[in-house]
């Protein structure tokens, strides 16, 4: 046996040990980009900012990345006084029916919450790492990048505080080492303070204008500061910030016809919304923050679905001929604004705001009140005949016979039927800042100032001027609806002014019987509560 052992054991150990290299087990991650690899140059920080801008763009896309349904901003724009859900599906239903289905388990809320915190984490990563990175860049270069990230972070907390009240405040990049299961809801005032710090920094470090449409500018920071101060009850500060925008010639209101459609019939107000006119570089001085999309360009596919959700289904309209047979005489064409699926619609109250008055914002260029027959006319009609939409009826569900806004009209030059849209859009514009100014003036008791601000918009819209005596908070809210229908986060404005419940009950006939005071603040998504395993997180009252 011993002689065997002499040969056997060395042989065995040789075969078992040979080639046992530690290096072989290192992860060969040549195809994986990590933060440590990216944040090593100013260009890397710019790449991260690009990712952040893509996140912002998703606000007008589906609530799941790359999807074209359940628009992310739905909770902010319907279930309010001026718009309702013109369809029945599990997401839209909540903002019509409220009650038992407006619950923590509603998946869309979790998608929105997760999206906002994903964006915050991206911003935090840029902000934290810019401080730590030892790069060969100037303070101005660095502060410009940080300012953009901080403005977007404040923008996320703006949504969170408006929708849910007190929310966890995190200003640190998430890592495997700082996973928390004991998040706390930070009092809203503290979150506001952090937002103010971010916006003040942004205002100080962003350029007034930029030749680069992708770059955030100072006006956006001032605008959001004005809005934040209104929420904080600091109308005087709000007025100062709003005035910075309204008095800056670089941000002046668009009051004349311009751009791609200037020679054709139209209005200055609606020119801004046309593809080719939305950006500052295209002549839109009023734009304070724009997002870009492009067809057939890597990175341009933002899946913007504003038209898809707001434009109605005119192709489903039916008209009865003189022989009693009905046809669908309108097919999808670019002239009719492209193909929408009519999920979100104005309330009758909204449509009535423009009844019998002169106002560009309520004109045929701004709204689709009628369509033109372009196929299969029923007996007794011909192609080119007009089909007028219901002008007096009540809101109904799945109703194609109902006007819709033309602000989001767009169709692909190559195929009119495709679902997403690829035009550039602005997120905020000076027109809205005027209304923030009006609200600040009203809060300060300066009704004349408020009337002046509103009249600046009315003059541009060729509408009758108002006097100080007309000004009430509801009047300002009505004016906002006229100017900003489907653009603004309507719910936030109504909640900020304490008018949400009353105005929904009065003006949104579909939701009126179903809403209650509880619904003013939304339920914290269940996954947020469930994942907080080591510390209970309080739910908003009534849920």
């Amino acid at each position: 046996m011993t002689c065997y052992k002499k040969i056997f054991i060395p042989l065995l150990s040789l075969s078992l040990v040979a080639g046992c290299s530690k290096k072989e087990l290192n992860e060969d991650s040549r195809g994986v980009l990590t933060a440590n690899l990216l944040f090593t140059s100013p260009a890397g920080f710019q790449n991260a900012l690009n990712g952040l801008y893509d996140e912002v763009r998703r606000y007008r896309s589906g609530d799941i990345y790359g999807q074209i349904n359940d628009i992310m901003n739905m909770q902010a724009v319907i279930g309010v006084d001026d718009a309702y859900g013109n369809w029945r599906d599990p997401t839209v239903d909540v903002f019509n029916l409220w009650g038992i289905i407006n619950a923590a388990s509603f998946g869309h809320y979790n998608h929105v919450w997760s999206y906002l915190y994903e964006t915050i984490n991206e911003a935090n990563t840029i902000i934290n790492r810019a401080d730590e990175a030892k790069l060969n860049w100037t303070d101005a270069q660095k502060n410009n990048i940080v300012a953009q990230a901080r403005l977007i972070r404040a923008w996320c907390y703006r949504h969170l505080t408006n929708l849910w009240g007190d929310v966890p405040l995190t200003l640190q990049e998430s890592t495997g080492a700082n996973i928390k299961t004991d998040w706390e809801r930070t009092p809203r005032a503290q979150v506001w303070a952090a937002m103010r710090d971010d916006l003040v920094f942004a205002e100080a470090n962003l350029p007034v204008t930029s030749t680069d449409d992708a770059q955030l500018i100072q006006g956006a920071a001032s605008h959001y500061l004005a809005e934040l101060y209104l929420a904080m009850g600091k109308a005087d500060s709000a007025k100062i910030e709003a005035t910075k925008v309204t008095t800056n010639p670089a941000y002046h209101l668009v009051t004349n016809r311009y751009g791609v459609n200037a020679a054709a019939p139209g209005t200055p107000f609606t020119d801004m919304f046309l593809d080719g006119n939305s950006l500052r570089s295209q002549g839109n001085t009023e734009a304070l923050w724009t997002v870009q999309n492009a067809l057939n360009l890597n990175g341009g596919e933002g899946y913007n679905i504003m038209r898809r959700y707001w434009a109605n289904r005119y192709y489903s309209l039916t008209v009865k001929g003189t022989d009693g047979k009905t046809t669908s005489p309108i097919q999808v064409v670019a002239a009719a604004g492209g193909r929408g699926i009519g999920r979100l619609s104005p309330t009758r109250w909204m449509l009535n705001l423009f009844k019998g008055i002169q106002d560009d914002r309520g004109s045929n260029f701004s709204w689709h009140y009628y369509y033109t027959m372009n196929t299969n006319p029923p007996k007794g009609f011909k192609i080119g005949d007009t089909v007028r939409l219901d002008s007096t009826g009540a809101e109904k569900l799945s109703n194609p016979n109902w006007p819709s806004t033309a602000k989001w009209d767009w169709s692909s030059p190559t195929n009119v039927l495709i679902d997403p849209q690829y035009n550039d859009q602005f997120i905020i514009r000076t027109g809205e800042t005027y209304l923030l100014l009006a609200e600040a003036d009203y809060d300060l008791g300066d009704k004349q100032g408020a009337a002046d601000a509103i009249n600046a918009l009315r003059a541009r819209a060729h509408a009758a001027a108002v006097t100080a005596g007309d000004i009430t908070i509801d009047f300002i809210l009505d004016e906002r609806a006229k100017e900003l229908f489907s653009e603004e986060d309507r719910r936030y404005v109504l909640v900020r002014t304490g008018r949400w419940l009353d105005r929904v009950k009065a003006d949104n006939k579909i939701a009126a019987p179903n809403v209650q005071a509880r619904d003013t603040i939304l339920p914290i998504p269940q996954p947020v509560i469930d994942a907080n395993r080591t510390k209970p997180m309080s739910q908003n009252p009534g849920y």
Binding site: E24, T34, E122, S174, A214, N296, G299, S328
Partner: protein, 980 residues
């Protein structure tokens, strides 16, 4: 030759040798003979004949003949053949020594592949089961997994969907242990880990299949053994004249079952009742008025067909043996345009280069052609529930682009059949070995195994403007080219000696494995025309190329010691240490030990006079196995691409997508196993009973993080699961007459799976549907409690104000209010037990084989009974139901109304089933044609999936609850086996 005949002949040989001791002279003699299959009396080719204790030996030729030189008459000859009971015979004299080997599932001397070597069945201490030869050899399988279904205890094979390739199967050994990490078993093909798909293995090439189930048996594959191991061994060459065999069959396939959807007229009424006349669009009305309805299901399906032809040649001489085969499969599925073609070749070669050096290779080349996309069955454009008030073909006879002109969201379910699709894959799988038997140390050998697996697959799909997708994008091309490149190197040292009553077998291993995947892809849109289809990406206006790379490495060391004393007491000790690249820097390595004991009770003296048990063996084992089956790079904080634009330029963008976890380590399962192998009445009844308890800890789990974190999940080692079960398999010869035999083999198994712990706080994870104390796969929801009737107090119900006809929900906690506390675990995906029973009846040359399998005690949500799928505006068809109306106050289904089920309660149905899986009638002409030089001629007809007995209303009880998969098919085959 009958059993008694054979015994008589053998025993007379034995007595002759006793009577004439003088003949046993000590000189080398030549022994010749024929080895036959005991039951069929057919010659067996390729049987290894060796002199016990010596190296070398020979194998039988095509006619079962052998010839071997033995040193003297006392020499003992061993006859080994995989899948057959090995025999030992004393040479006694020169001349004829005919042997009949018995094929058996669990015979004691059967040689079993156990991983890094072979063992005799009687020496095995772990839980190792072999697949019944008849499931492999004589069955017309096109996919190896088909042979496993229901055939073995503790091995669950479920068909998750239909399709030409038959690849949609899941294999689970002893229940689901992992949640995130893969649950499929490790497959070892000819000794080398196989990562390809089962459909690339030609089933007729397979000689034997073993499944390692308990910790001890699987421990040698420690790192990846926790889900069990399947060892597949392909056929080897034989000694003698070449044997040429043809195995082929042709089949017709018919759809097994389809859901009963509303007729177009019923659908029209359904729509009007549900949403009013106004919901009917003008084009739907026009189709309704014209009465020209498309039958989408008929258009999307067809009668399928299948044929397979295999030719093999097997032969060799004392130094070189070969097996070569070529196999062609062509399947046309029951879904229109669903094809699968496979061409595979194999060369298995073994050469004894010197007395001490053997070289061998088992190499297969394969080609798969999956070109052609089937019609759509699931999703919005799925044929099952497509709106019947639409138009399938335009006036020119082409499938319409938008079958419903008023709703262009819907594309034609037949659109994929118009796509220009090519999908070709090429494989090389080669397992090579060099075996060194050290001449100066008896019993010591060294083996070098090298394995190389290469798989290249290229898919290209072009949707032209004749489809909705192509029209929307002006041509839509997607191409993918993937290369999989796996290398294995193993060094194995074996020492196998017997010292008196002590037998030792030691195996030592050092192995290295590298798996590499490279994928290049291209998505292109906006083409000037469709003329050049996929061959014009250079002129596409929108292009998105992609590239992916993944590599994983595994380094392992393993020792195994088998010790047996006097054939009575058996001990196996195994230790394996594995290092995997996918884990954190300090957690690459883990050690997986196991120990097993065996006791051959029938070999004890006190059992000498027992007549009941011909075999009784007790096995005990305990040990741990690991699981590393997660994707590489889970330890890193990665970013994902989110590009933006700046003017007309792409602005490359990234956002964080995962968190780093340097602590990631092995998932480990500890299994205790107690087993009894028994043979009764001279092994006329044989069986195996195993009881096990497998506890898994450090589960690799995608933990849900608070959405506040900004990243939704992280892979961590948390949680515990447990699987406990009993498995019984029994084989018996019920009738054994001269001309008629009836043998049956059956198995029954029970597995109880549950989550023991998740995050360490005793709380469930409702986000992932994981509930402590319940099986991993569970659903939580409200329980359907009938329908609110006119006589109920609908104004003040426990659901608030309801309307008659709405669905009732059971108030499970009896608090008078329906809320989330009334939710419960719905149904059970876990069978109370599963079973399989094979019956073989043989009358002379005719045999009938019937295989039945069953799954008992499962129930699942039937999504076909939920109406969310029809969508607002009634855009989809649905199955026929007994809707509530005031005049039909049923409790079985609610009113046809969009608001009838506000909380979306699901209906749970039993999906237990009994399936007559195989019925085969065959006639064996072998004895008639042997004079014509043929060793085998067999003709058979078979029906597969002929009957399924179930209460399930839908597509197939085995399919998951969406029930929109491609339909399952019934097959009717006729086949032929010929050998020369």
């Amino acid at each position: 030759m009958s059993m008694s005949n054979c015994l008589l002949r053998l025993s007379s040989l034995f007595f002759l040798s006793l009577l004439f001791p003088g003949l046993l002279l000590a000189q080398s003699i030549v022994v010749k003979g024929t080895v036959r299959d005991q039951a069929k009396n057919e010659p067996l080719a390729g049987v290894t004949v060796q002199v016990k204790g010596a190296t070398g030996g020979t194998t039988t030729d095509s006619l079962g003949h052998y010839s071997i030189t033995v040193p003297d008459r006392k020499a003992v000859l061993t006859f080994n053949y995989v899948g057959y009971t090995a025999q030992e015979q004393t040479a006694n004299r020169a001349g004829a020594l005919d042997v009949a080997l018995a094929a058996s599932t669990a015979s004691l001397n059967e040689v079993v592949v156990v991983g890094y070597g072979t063992q005799k069945r009687r020496d095995i201490t772990g839980s190792v089961v072999s697949l019944d030869h008849s499931r492999l050899e004589n069955m017309p399988n096109t996919n190896f997994a088909q042979a496993l279904e229901g055939a073995l205890p503790g091995v669950s094979v479920t068909t998750a969907g239909g399709g030409a390739e038959g690849e949609n199967v899941n294999i689970l050994i002893r229940g689901q242990k992992s949640i995130k990490a893969t649950t499929g078993p490790l497959v070892i093909l000819d000794g080398i880990p196989y990562n390809g798909s089962f459909s690339d293995i030609n089933p007729t090439d397979i000689a034997s299949t073993e499944i390692l189930k308990d910790a001890s048996a699987a421990a040698i594959y420690g790192s990846r053994g926790s889900n069990g191991v399947i060892l597949i061994t392909t056929k080897r060459g034989s000694n003698g004249k070449p044997v040429i065999s043809y195995d082929g069959f042709a089949a017709e396939e018919k759809i097994a079952n389809l859901p009963s959807v509303l007729t177009p007229q019923q659908f029209y009424q359904f729509k009007v009742t549900r949403e009013g006349q106004a919901s009917v669009t003008t084009s739907e009305q026009a189709v309704y008025d014209s009465k020209k309805f498309p039958n989408w299901l008929n258009l999307a399906t067809q009668n399928g067909s299948k044929e397979q032809h295999g030719l093999s040649i097997r032969g060799g001489n004392t130094t070189t043996k070969y097996f070569a085969s070529v196999n062609y499969l062509d399947t046309k599925g029951v879904a229109v345009n669903d094809h699968f073609k496979r061409l595979s070749t194999r060369i298995n070669l073994e050469a004894n280069l010197t007395k001490w050096l053997t070289y061998g290779t088992n190499t297969s080349l394969g080609y798969d052609n999956r070109s052609g996309l089937p019609a759509t069955f699931s999703g919005d454009n799925g044929a099952y529930f497509f709106n019947p008030l639409t138009t399938a073909y335009d006036s020119a006879g082409n499938p319409t682009i938008y079958p419903w002109p008023q709703d262009t969201h819907f594309a034609n379910p037949l659109a994929p059949t118009l796509a220009i699709n090519s999908d070709n894959a090429y494989q090389v799988f080669t397992a090579n070995y060099l075996l060194v038997k050290f001449p100066f140390i008896p019993g010591l050998s060294y083996r070098l195994n090298t394995g190389f697996e290469y798989n290249q697959r290229r898919t290209s799909t072009y949707y032209g403007r004749n489809t909705a997708d192509g029209l929307a994008n002006n041509g839509d091309l997607s191409q993918k080219n993937s290369n999989i490149n796996n290398t294995t190197i193993e060094n194995i040292v074996t020492y196998d000696r017997t010292f008196g009553k002590h037998a030792i077998n030691f195996t030592g291993l050092y192995s290295y494995e590298k798996d590499l995947t490279n994928v290049d892809s291209l998505d292109a849109q906006q083409f000037p025309s469709d003329a050049l289809t996929a061959y014009q990406p250079n002129v596409a206006l929108a292009l998105q190329p992609g590239s992916a790379y993944a590599k994983r490495t595994l380094i392992s060391q393993m020792y195994r010691l088998n010790y047996s004393f006097d054939g009575r007491y058996l001990l196996t000790v195994t230790g394996r240490r594995d290092g995997s690249s996918v884990f954190g820097a300090n957690n690459k390595y883990a050690f997986f030990p196991s120990v097993a004991l065996g006791w051959n009770i029938t070999n004890e003296n006190f059992m000498e006079h027992n007549t009941l048990f011909s075999n009784l063996k007790l096995r005990l084992s305990y040990g741990s196995n690991g699981n590393q089956a997660i994707s590489p790079y889970q330890t890193l904080a990665a970013l994902t691409t989110r590009n933006y634009i700046d003017g007309s330029l792409t602005a490359p963008g990234y956002i964080p997508s995962t968190l780093d976890n340097p602590d990631l380590h092995w998932e480990t399962t500890n299994t205790a196993n107690v087993g009894i192998d028994f043979g009764l009445l001279k092994n006329r009844i044989q069986g195996t009973l195993d009881v096990y308890d497998a506890k898994t800890h450090d589960l690799l789990l995608d933990r849900q993080l608070s959405p506040v974190q900004g990243i939704s999940t992280i892979t961590q080692n948390i949680g515990k699961t447990e699987n406990r079960g009993i498995e019984l398999s029994i084989g018996a010869v019920a009738i054994d007459q001269k001309d008629f035999t009836w043998s049956l083999s059956g198995n029954i198994s029970m597995n109880r799976n549950k989550i023991v712990e998740l995050y360490g706080d005793g709380k469930n994870d409702t986000l992932n549907n994981w509930y402590i104390g319940h099986p991993i796969h569970s659903d939580l929801g409200y329980k359907f409690g009938g329908v609110w009737q006119l006589t109920d107090d609908t104004l003040h119900s426990n659901m608030g104000q309801v309307h008659p006809g709405q669905a009732k929900i059971k108030d499970l906690n009896h608090d008078g209010v329906i809320n989330s506390y009334d939710r419960t675990i719905l149904g059970s995906y876990q069978p109370s037990f599963t079973w399989g029973l094979a019956n073989t009846f043989k009358y002379k040359a005719i045999s009938l084989y019937v295989f039945v399998q069953g799954v008992e005690g499962t129930s699942q949500i039937n999504n076909l009974l939920s109406e969310g799928g029809v969508q607002a505006g009634v855009r989809h068809n649905t199955v026929i139901k007994d809707w509530w109306t005031p005049t039909n106050p049923t409790n079985s289904y609610w009113i046809n109304n969009p608001q009838s089920n506000p909380l979306d309660v699901h209906i749970v149905q039993s999906n237990a089933f009994v399936r007559v899986k195989d019925m085969m009638l065959s006639y064996d002409f072998s004895s008639l044609v042997s004079k014509a030089g043929m060793s085998r001629l067999r003709l058979y007809v078979e029906a597969r999936n002929l009957f399924t007995f179930t209460k399930w209303k839908g597509l197939d009880p085995e399919f998951s609850s969406t029930q929109q998969q491609m339909p399952l098919q019934k097959e009717y085959l006729v086949g032929l086996n010929v050998s020369f």
